[in-house]
C-alpha cells in the first residue's frame, strides 16, 4: 500500500487506528510525520476513543507539537541513572530550580514568555533571548543564520520590547581543515563560516540592530556543521507589556505572507543530519529583513497604543505552535480559518502546510474585538499585511476550518501531554571516567615559550575576530558605549556596554562564555567554566546583578553517555548559578547535533546580562598609561586540560589524547567574593583596565591588553604554589593555564597600596608594569623568557580568519 493510497484524499484522513501500530508507524515515516512508535500509540489511543481516524492536519499538528524542538522532551523527561538516582526532568531539577530558589525580585518573567524579562530601572525592563539555529545553518548557512537572527528578534518583539542589541556565538570546524578529508556532501568550515557571517550581518545590519557581542569558536567536532547561537536584547516599558488574552479575542496574523518554506523545520531540527542533507534545503526558511523592519515598527506602535491582549512569534512549528501555545497559556481553545491566511503564492498549498509553514517575518497577535480595526490599520500604515484568521474560545479545543468546512479538532490538553517515558541510563562506569581524563606524561617544557606564545596568538580560537566582527554594524542605535574592539588598534574588550535610555547614564553589559573543548573531557567543568567566563567578562567592564541565559547544543542524547553528560552539565548550571545568585531567565536546548563525521562536543553557551550603575565608570581592557602597575588577581593552578595551549601542543606533536592534566575547577564561593570586590574596585578611579584570563591563559590576556594602544609591559612571573598538589608552578603553567576566576588589571602608579588594602585576603600578585614597546616576561630569577615587540605579537594575532578579497 503506497502512502498516497492510505491518505484518504476525500476526507483527508490518515489510517492509523484501523491498522496495526507497525503499519501506522511506517505510513507516518513515509509521510515524514516525525512521531516515535510510543508516541503514535498514544495518538492511536486518543483517536480510538473518538472512533475515527485523524485528519492530516491533526496528525501534523501533533507531530509538530511533540517534536523535540518544540516540546524539549529530553529536558522534561524523568531520567533514571543506574539503580539509585532519578531526576525529575533536567529543566525542572536544575535550570528552573536555580531561578526559583534565587527568587530575585528583579526577574519579571523567566521561561514563560518568548523572552526572559528583567527590571532595568523604574520605568524600563530588559528582555533577552538566545536561540540556536544550528541545523538550518549547516544546510544553508546564509539563510539559516539570517533567519536565526530574524527569529530571535521576533522573540523580543513577542514581549513588546524594542530590540536594541544582537549577540552571536558561532562554532565551526577548523578553518584549515583539509578539504580532501571531508565526505563529498559535507561543506567546508570556511564555506559555512562565510555564509553564516554574511547571513548574520545581512539581517542585523538591515534591521538596524547592532551586533555588539559574541564569539567564534573552532573545534574539530564541528567539522561539517555550524553552530549558530543568535541572541537579542530588548528594552520595553512595563505599561506596553500586555499578556491578558481572553476567550472571544481575535487571532491576527501580521507580517510576511505564508509560503511553503521551512516546512516541518522543527522535525528536521530534531533529527541528525545525514547524507540527504541537501535535499532538506526546503526546510530552511527564506529571510527578508526589510519586512521585519516594518513589522517591528508596527508592533512597537501597537504596543504603544495597547491595542492587543497578547502576542507571540511565529517561529519553529509555524502558526500551529504559535496558536496552540497561546491557547494553552491563556487556558483557552481556538478556532482558526486557514483559508484566511494571506499566501505568498497562489500555488497549491495544503491547509496543513499553511498551518505548519515556518515562513519568516510573521507574528500572531491576540486582539480584543473592539480594537481590531485600529490594530490592523496600524500595520497597514507600515505596509504590513495583517488579517484576522480566528479567535480564542472557551472550549479547550483547537478547531481547524478551511473554506467553511471543519477539517480537524484536537483537545489542547491532549496536544500538550505527549508521552514522556522515563529515560534510563547506566551510571558512569569508573573505567569511562579514567579513559576520558587520561593523564599522559607532561609533554610541555619551558623551552620555546616565545614560539609557543606567538603560535597561540595566531591560532584560530585566539586570533583577532576583526575580519568577521567588523562586517556587523555595532554602532547603529547610538547606544554602544563600550564596543567589541578598543580604539585605535582594535584590541578586544570583554563585554559590550550599552546605554539603553537616552536620559539616563545607567548601562547594561552583555557578555558570553563557552568552553567546548572541556565538553568532551568533563561536562561539569565545561558548564561551570562557561558560566564563570560569562560572568567574569561582565564583571571586567563593571557589570553586576547578572542574569544568565543558557543554550545547550548536544549530540544524540540517547546515545552513549551523552545524557549523563547533559545531567552533569545541568547540575553545574544549578550549582554555579545558585552559588553566584545569577538566575537563568531564558534558555534553549538543541539536541541531535550530529554530522556524518560524528557528534559535536557537548557545548553550553552562556550569555550574561549585567547592570552597570554608571557608564562613566565602566572599564575597557586596554592598558593605558606607562608606569602603571599590572596585577594578577585570582588563583592560578596547573589546569591545562582542554586549554588552547594543550590543544596546540597535541596538534604539533600529533598526539591522540586531547587533554592532559587537570580541568579548570571553580570555587563559586571564592569567585563570588572576588567579583564583589572587583565591582567595588572598578568603581574606583585607580583601576584603569581589567581583562579576563581565559583562552591562552595569562600570556595571551597580557598581550591583548597591550594591543589597543600598542604599549609594552615588563613583568616577572611570581613563585606560585598550586595549592591542590603543593607544587611550584612551572613558567609554562603560569603563562598558559586556563584556571577560572582570574583577571589582569592595571592600577594607577602610586595607588598600589590602596588597591592592595581593598583586596584584603583575596589572592593577588603584582607582576610588573607598563613599559616600553615590548612584551617582556621574565621568570622568577629575572631571566627573560619572552621578549617580543608588541607590534610583532599584534601582527601574529591579526592573522585574518576571513581574508579581504581585493586591494
Amino acid at each position: 500500500m503506497s502512502a498516497l493510497q492510505a491518505l484518504d484524499r476525500e476526507n483527508r484522513c490518515i489510517e492509523i487506528v484501523n491498522t496495526t501500530l507497525e503499519r501506522a508507524h511506517s505510513l507516518c515515516e513515509k509521510l515524514q510525520i516525525g512521531l516515535a512508535k510510543h508516541e503514535l500509540a498514544q495518538v492511536r489511543e486518543y483517536f480510538q476513543k473518538l472512533r475515527r481516524e485523524p485528519t492530516e492536519i491533526e496528525i501534523q499538528t501533533i507531530a509538530q507539537t511533540w517534536s523535540e524542538h518544540c516540546f524539549h522532551k529530553i529536558f522534561k523527561s524523568r531520567i533514571k541513572i543506574g539503580k539509585q538516582k532519578t531526576i525529575n526532568g533536567i529543566f525542572r531539577t536544575f535550570i528552573a530550580r536555580a531561578t526559583e530558589e534565587i527568587a530575585a525580585d528583579w526577574v519579571v518573567s523567566a521561561f514563560s514568555d518568548n523572552a526572559g524579562i528583567i527590571k532595568f530601572d523604574s520605568s524600563h525592563w530588559l528582555a533577552a533571548k538566545v536561540e540556536t539555529h544550528n541545523h538550518p545553518s549547516a544546510v544553508e548557512p546564509f539563510g539559516g543564520a539570517a533567519t536565526g537572527v530574524g527569529g530571535v528578534i521576533r522573540d523580543i518583539l513577542g514581549v513588546w520590547a524594542r530590540p536594541i542589541a544582537n549577540t552571536d556565538v558561532l562554532g565551526f570546524g577548523p578553518p584549515d581543515f583539509p578539504q580532501h578529508q571531508l565526505p563529498p556532501w559535507t561543506k567546508h568550515p570556511t564555506y559555512l563560516m562565510k555564509g553564516v557571517v554574511a547571513g548574520i550581518g545581512n539581517y542585523g545590519n538591515n534591521m538596524g540592530i547592532p551586533t555588539v557581542n559574541g564569539s567564534v569558536y573552532f573545534h574539530d567536532s564541528y567539522v561539517g556543521y555550524a553552530l549558530v547561537f543568535c541572541g537579542c536584547i530588548g528594552l520595553l516599558q512595563p505599561r506596553n507589556y500586555s499578556a491578558r488574552a481572553r476567550p472571544g479575542d481575535l487571532l491576527v496574523v501580521a507580517g510576511a505572507r505564508t509560503g511553503r518554506d521551512g516546512l516541518r523545520g522543527v522535525n528536521f531540527a530534531s533529527t541528525p543530519l545525514s547524507k540527504e542533507t541537501d535535499s532538506l534545503r526546503s526546510a530552511v526558511q527564506i529571510p527578508d529583513p526589510i519586512v521585519e523592519e516594518r513589522l517591528m515598527r508596527a508592533i512597537l506602535a501597537v504596543a504603544e497604543r495597547n491595542l492587543a491582549s497578547a502576542i507571540t512569534d511565529v517561529g519553529g512549528g509555524g502558526l500551529s505552535s504559535a496558536v496552540c501555545e497561546t491557547a494553552r497559556r491563556y487556558s483557552c481553545g481556538a478556532e482558526v480559518d486557514l483559508d484566511r491566511i494571506p499566501l505568498r503564492e497562489e500555488s497549491i498549498i495544503e491547509p496543513w502546510e499553511i498551518w505548519l509553514s515556518e515562513s519568516q517575518e510573521r507574528m500572531v497577535l491576540v486582539v480584543p474585538k473592539a480594537k481590531v480595526s485600529e490594530a490592523i490599520s496600524t500595520f497597514q500604515h507600515e505596509e504590513i499585511d495583517a488579517k484576522v484568521f480566528g479567535k480564542l474560545t472557551e472550549s479547550g479545543e483547537i478547531v481547524f476550518n478551511f473554506d467553511g468546512d471543519e477539517i480537524g479538532r484536537l483537545s489542547i490538553d491532549f496536544l500538550f501531554s505527549p508521552p514522556l517515558p522515563t529515560l534510563e541510563v547506566r551510571s558512569r562506569s569508573h573505567s569511562s571516567i579514567t579513559t576520558r581524563r587520561k593523564d599522559s606524561k607532561l609533554f610541555a617544557t619551558n623551552d620555546g615559550l616565545e614560539a609557543d606564545f606567538l603560535c597561540l596568538l595566531a591560532s584560530p580560537n585566539i586570533s583577532s575576530r576583526e575580519s568577521i566582527v567588523r562586517t556587523f554594524d555595532h554602532e547603529v542605535g547610538g547606544r554602544t558605549v563600550l564596543k567589541p574592539f578598543q580604539y585605535p588598534n582594535s584590541g578586544p574588550n570583554d563585554a559590550a556596554v550599552l546605554k539603553p535610555v537616552l536620559s539616563s547614564y545607567k548601562g547594561l553589559a552583555i557578555s558570553c562564555g563557552l568552553n567546548p573543548a572541556l565538553g568532551e573531557i568533563d561536562p561539569y567543568a565545561m558548564a561551570a567554566s562557561s558560566i564563570d567566563e560569562a560572568i567574569r567578562n561582565n564583571v571586567c567592564v563593571g557589570g553586576r546583578r547578572i542574569a544568565l541565559l543558557d543554550n545547550f547544543a548536544w549530540g544524540d542524547p540517547l546515545k552513549g553517555e551523552n545524557l549523563l553528560d547533559l545531567v552533569e552539565a545541568a547540575q553545574a548550571c544549578y550549582d554555579v548559578a545558585k552559588g553566584f545568585s545569577t538566575p537563568f531567565i531564558s534558555g534553549k536546548d538543541s539536541m541531535y547535533n550530529v554530522t556524518p563525521l560524528g557528534e559535536i562536543t557537548p557545548t553550553l553557551v552562556i550569555t550574561a546580562i549585567g547592570i552597570v550603575p554608571n557608564i562613566r565608570k565602566c572599564l575597557s581592557a586596554d592598558f593605558k598609561t606607562y608606569g602603571d602597575s599590572i596585577y594578577l588577581v585570582g588563583r592560578t593552578r596547573s589546569e591545562l586540560a582542554g586549554s588552547e595551549y594543550a590543544r596546540m601542543k597535541h596538534k604539533q606533536q600529533q598526539q591522540q589524547q586531547l587533554w592532559v592534566g587537570e580541568v579548570p575547577r571553580l570555587d563559586v564561593k571564592f569567585a563570588k567574593s572576588l567579583y564583589n570586590t572587583m565591582n567595588k574596585l572598578t568603581d574606583q578611579g585607580f583601576v584603569k583596565a581589567c581583562h579576563d584570563i581565559s583562552q591562552g591563559g595569562l600570556a595571551v590576556a597580557l598581550a591583548e591588553m597591550c594591543f589597543a594602544n600598542c604599549l609594552g609591559v615588563d613583568i616577572t612571573l611570581p613563585v606560585l604554589r598550586d595549592e591542590s598538589n603543593d607544587r611550584i608552578l612551572e613558567p609554562f603553567e603560569l603563562l598558559f593555564s586556563e584556571s577560572n576566576s582570574r583577571f589582569l588589571i592595571e592600577v594607577s602608579a602610586g595607588e598600589e597600596s590602596k588597591f592592595e588594602s581593598m583586596m584584603g585576603k583575596l589572592p593577588f600578585v603584582k607582576l610588573g608594569s607598563i613599559a616600553g614597546k615590548k612584551i617582556v616576561i621574565r621568570n622568577s630569577l629575572g631571566e627573560t623568557i619572552i621578549g617580543l615587540d608588541t607590534v610583532d605579537c599584534y601582527n601574529a594575532w591579526r592573522k585574518e580568519l576571513m581574508t579581504v578579497s581585493a586591494s
Binding site: D473, E475, G478, S807
Partner: protein, 269 residues
C-alpha cells in the same frame, strides 16, 4: 529665535534604520524634528513647511537594485517639485550613508552638471568586498562651500558602517571639477590629518580622492558616508574609556550644529 521653531523633517522608507539616531541628535540640540514615511500622503503638501530635510542611514527598500536607488527614484517621482523648490530656496538637505546614496541616485548630488534626473556619480561596493563598521578620521576641506561643516573640527572622527561607500565618477575630469567647485567637503585621513591616499583601512572603502562627503555646487545639499549621528554624544566616542571620562558631545555635533546655525542665520533671516 527659539530653536524649537526650527522644524527638521527626517524621511524614511521601509529599511531605513538610523532615523531615531538622527532624531536623538536634533532633540539634543533643541529643535523640533519629525520622522515621516516617504509614502505618507500628506508628505508632499507638508514638505515646504520644514526648514531642513534629512535622509538617514539604513537600507531603504533593502538597497535592492543598487544602494539608495529605489528611494532615490521615489523621491524624484513623488516629491520632485518640492525638493527643487527646497534647493532653490537654499534650505539644507542632508543625506547620511544610505541617505547620501539616495541623494546621488536622485541626482541631487553632486549636481555638478546641473542635469536633473541623471545620477552623475555612484557609491560602489567597498573595495574590501565587505561591510565595514569602524571609526575613521576625517579631514575637513577648507575650500568647501559646504554649510554643514562650518562648525566641524578640522580633524573629526565618525564611525562608518556600510558595504557600498566607494565614491566614484565616470572620469578624472569629473572629479577635478568637483574639487574646483569646492564640492569635496570631507576626506578620509590618517589620525594626524595627513591624506589617507586610498590606504585601507584609513580610507575604508576605496573612495576616489578619499572622498567621504560632498556637497552640491551651492553647498546646501550634503551627503556623507560616515555617521555624525553616532558620534554626537561623548559617550559614543570609541576611546573615551582611555581618558576615563567623556565630553558632552562628540565631533558629530559639529555637523548638526552647523546646519542649525545656518537655518537660524540664512533660512529664517
Amino acid at each position: 529665535m527659539q530653536r524649537t521653531k526650527i522644524k527638521v523633517l527626517i524621511i524614511r522608507a521601509g529599511g531605513t534604520n538610523r532615523d531615531f539616531d538622527v532624531y536623538a541628535c536634533l532633540k539634543g540640540l533643541g529643535v523640533s524634528a519629525r520622522i515621516k514615511r516617504i509614502n505618507d500622503t500628506e508628505l508632499r503638501s507638508d514638505l515646504l513647511s520644514y526648514h531642513a530635510l534629512i535622509f538617514p542611514g539604513g537600507f531603504a527598500y533593502g538597497d535592492y537594485v543598487r544602494a539608495g536607488a529605489i528611494l532615490g527614484k521615489k523621491v524624484m517621482s513623488t516629491l520632485w517639485d518640492e525638493i527643487l523648490k527646497f534647493r532653490k530656496e537654499r534650505r539644507p538637505i542632508l543625506g547620511i550613508c544610505n541617505g547620501f546614496q539616495v541623494l546621488v541616485e536622485a541626482s541631487l548630488l553632486p549636481g555638478t552638471l546641473g542635469k536633473n534626473g541623471v545620477p552623475e556619480a555612484a557609491l560602489a561596493s567597498n573595495s574590501s568586498g565587505r561591510f565595514e563598521c569602524r571609526w575613521v578620521t576625517l579631514k575637513k576641506k577648507q575650500a568647501s562651500k559646504c554649510i554643514f561643516t562650518k562648525q566641524l573640527k578640522e580633524i573629526a572622527r565618525f564611525p562608518v558602517a556600510h558595504g557600498e561607500g566607494r565614491f566614484i565618477m565616470s572620469d578624472a575630469r569629473a572629479l577635478e571639477k568637483l574639487e574646483e567647485n569646492g564640492q569635496i567637503a570631507l576626506v578620509y585621513s590618517a589620525p594626524d590629518g595627513t591624506p589617507a591616499n586610498g590606504r585601507y583601512p584609513l580610507n575604508p572603502n576605496g573612495s576616489s580622492l578619499d572622498i567621504a562627503g560632498i556637497c552640491d555646487p551651492s553647498g546646501t545639499i550634503f551627503g556623507l558616508m560616515p555617521h555624525p549621528e553616532n558620534a554626537f554624544f561623548g559617550y559614543q566616542l570609541p576611546d573615551w574609556s582611555f581618558n576615563r571620562k567623556f565630553p558632552l558631545y562628540g565631533d558629530g555635533y559639529g555637523i548638526f550644529e552647523s546646519m542649525i546655525e545656518y537655518i537660524e542665520t540664512e533660512v529664517l533671516r
